[in-house]
């Protein structure tokens, strides 16, 4: 596959990352089309979260290329610079501002100026209010706008965080285990939510739960020991011998969340 042929939203080529001698990412190549919904699976320690850390600037690769869109090198930028380019990330454990209301959580996430000075004299505009209402509706928290985020259930916090990403209006959404710790019903709703965003944003979802993966997956990438083991649709992946060996073969183990 050649990077020149097509415009990718996200390109990783020959990426390596070692932590204290442990090779978390090894020669990883990953390409993703604009507007795609991609699911990444892989056993624990396969490097899924590290890959997100590398893309979002939380850590820097030892070697390799990470590009966003056309020719934007992400390896030299830090978290907030990358975020401002239009890359939103949802963490594995919900990180929302528990002391603030749901509405305020979204207000702080809205796309807009980010400087200290502008925050001192910011006044909420009708347009912002409207956008927040829209996002509240998308993530199904319209009734909860004035609740403290800390009072939400676990699943609702996850949705709020997805809503916070949407408020940033990113081109690329990176979602780390959104269904972790959710009930089956909540998991299904989360799947529907992500599917409804397909096409408007490019989305990467990391997930363990195969039912959930089957619900949302178009194209699945399997990571193993820091590099791509195989790529394809769910059936292809599930019937791939290598995958069965390293991952699905152990599917009867108790499912691990978080």
């Amino acid at each position: 596959m050649s990077a020149e042929r097509k415009e990718f939203i996200l390109t990783l080529e020959g990426v390596n990352k070692t932590f204290d001698g442990f090779k978390a990412i090894s020669d990883l190549n990953f390409y993703m089309d604009d507007g795609e919904l991609r699911v990444i699976i892989g056993p624990n320690g396969a490097g899924k979260s590290t890959m997100l850390d590398l893309v979002t600037g939380r850590t820097q690769p030892d070697a390799g290329k990470i590009e966003f869109g056309k020719n934007t090198d992400l390896t030299r930028l830090n978290e907030y610079q990358i975020s401002r380019l239009g890359v939103g990330r949802k963490f594995q454990t919900p990180s929302v501002y528990i002391g603030h209301t749901v509405f305020e959580n979204l207000l702080l996430s809205l796309k807009g100026p980010r400087s200290v000075f502008s925050s001192l004299f910011h006044r909420i505009t009708p347009k912002e209010r409207q956008r927040i209402e829209e996002v509240l509706a998308i993530v199904g928290l319209t009734e909860r706008g004035q609740w403290k985020a800390g009072a939400l259930s676990h699943g609702q916090k996850q949705w709020l965080e997805i809503g916070m990403l949407l408020a940033q209006d990113p081109r690329l959404l990176l979602v780390d285990e959104p269904a972790a710790g959710m009930t089956d019903e909540e998991t299904f709703k989360t799947g529907q939510l992500l599917l409804s965003l397909e096409g408007k944003h490019s989305i990467v979802v990391i997930e363990h739960d195969m039912t959930f993966v089957r619900q949302i997956a178009r194209k699945v990438t399997v990571l193993h020991q820091g590099s791509v083991l195989c790529e394809g649709n769910v059936d292809q992946v599930q019937n791939d011998e290598k995958v069965i060996e390293v991952y699905l073969g152990r599917k009867h183990e108790p499912k691990r969340h978080l």
């Binding site: 979002t56 978290e79 907030y80 975020s83 401002r84 939103g88 990330r89 963490f91 990180s95 929302v96 501002y97 528990i98 002391g99 603030h100 305020e104 207000l107 702080l108 996430s109 980010r114 400087s115 200290v116 925050s119 001192l120 004299f121 910011h122 004035q146 609740w147 403290k148 800390g150 009072a151 939400l152 259930s153 676990h154 965080e161 916070m164 940033q168």
Partner: protein, 391 residues
């Protein structure tokens, strides 16, 4: 928390402010000796408490609102005090013990002339400016380095403590020409007014009270802006802030410098009222004491630090007189008790009692009602559990 302020509470606050600013000084100036009279000694003491209250606000804006536990606020307080103290030293003129035109400690060290850096401090406005510039600069440089390196949590606390300790040792040295371990004292005049006269002290008290009220109002405004929301967002989830595109370090640097300036204002007002400034004011335990005031009063509120500073210091004044040996034990016990039983401090007590009363009342009733009330007010205890239970 923003919607929580009722008109009634506003009135209470306004009355308290009026009491501080006008009524206490009037009782000092106009009433005869008797029950209502506030003595010169007392008003001087209250002025000191209010300076501490300003320091406490600066601790709380960092710790309670931004999650940055600075153990170095006393440094900025003392630096402000020292800068202004230099002016007060110059105003002694030749009235010192040695009747020389330079401060006594310099004569004692064998100097005949003023070191060059002392010269501009004969000007009130220069000294006042330096009382802001020096602490602000120290905070700016230290904060820039610390936040750029992403120093967080307990490491930040330790570093701030190390900074204040280092400064403390530095100021103990005679060759810094800042008075060594005796510091500055024996002040005589401020802008031509005699510091020993009750009227001057009363005026200083009033300036302190007005300043405290203004700082309170300013911080109240700040915590309600989007900046204030971000401050608390950094406290609750700094990563989320960072990954939402905010340079969290710049926000922390801004509030850190601002709080250094607030502390410096407290120190500037403190020195002419207490009449002495020495390196022990920047000793690490001074900063720790300020943290205890905030914890006792109620952190994460603006009125809490004021109440805490006044109550703990009043207690200190009493204990150090009644049982001079056990003050530190007392302070430690207070801190332990407050953290264990009053997590929200004095300000949180009414709420705690309400919760207790509710629980006692609710005992005979059957298990919780199925309906969750929209929660502007409930679930301060543990929101997660609360929700899980009713679900």
């Amino acid at each position: 928390m923003r919607s929580g302020v009722t008109t009634a509470e506003k009135w209470v606050l306004a009355i308290c402010a009026l009491m501080l600013v006008l009524i206490i000084p009037s009782l000092n100036a106009f009433t005869p000796e008797g029950f209502f009279h506030v003595s010169d000694f007392s008003i001087n003491l209250y002025g000191k408490y209010l300076c501490y209250a300003i320091l406490a606000i600066s601790v709380d804006m960092l710790w309670g609102y931004t999650g940055l536990l600075s153990l170095g606020q006393a440094l900025f307080f003392a630096l402000g005090g020292y800068m202004f103290g230099m002016y007060l030293m110059r105003m002694i003129g030749s009235l010192g013990q040695y009747h020389q035109p330079i401060p006594d400690f310099l004569v004692f060290l064998g100097w005949h002339n003023l070191p060059p850096f002392w010269r501009p401090f004969s000007s009130f406005s220069f000294a006042l400016m330096m009382a802001f510039v020096l602490p602000g600069l120290v905070a700016l440089i230290f904060g820039y380095l610390a936040f750029r390196s992403r120093i967080r949590g307990v490491y930040f606390s330790i570093l701030t403590q190390a900074l204040t300790y280092a400064a403390c040792l530095l100021f103990f040295r005679n060759n810094l020409f800042m008075g060594g371990n005796n510091g500055f004292t024996d002040f005589k005049f401020l802008l031509g007014y005699d510091l020993r006269s009750p009227a001057t002290q009363r005026a200083l008290y009033m300036v302190t009270a007005v300043t405290l009220v203004l700082i309170f109002l300013g911080c109240r405004w700040l915590t309600r802006t989007k900046f204030g929301l971000l401050q608390q967002a950094i406290r609750d989830s700094e990563n989320r802030v960072l990954f939402s595109g905010y340079a969290a370090g710049n926000y922390k640097l801004f509030i850190f410098v601002l709080c250094a300036l607030i502390a410096a204002i407290g120190g500037t007002l403190y020195v002419p009222q207490v009449g002495i400034i020495n390196p022990s004011e920047m000793a690490p335990e001074k900063s720790l004491e300020a943290v205890v005031w905030v914890a006792v009063g109620g952190r994460g509120t603006l009125i809490g630090p004021i109440i805490g500073a006044v109550v703990v210091n009043a207690l200190k004044s009493w204990t150090t007189r009644a049982f001079p040996d056990i003050w530190l034990l007392f302070l430690g016990a207070l801190f332990v008790l407050v953290t264990a039983f009053m997590p929200k401090g004095i300000v949180g007590l009414p709420e705690q009692f309400r919760g207790l009363a509710k629980r006692l009342k609710a005992k005979p009733l059957p298990p919780p009602a199925p309906h969750q009330t929209p929660c502007a007010e409930p679930s301060q205890s543990n929101p997660d559990q609360h929700f899980a239970k009713t679900k």
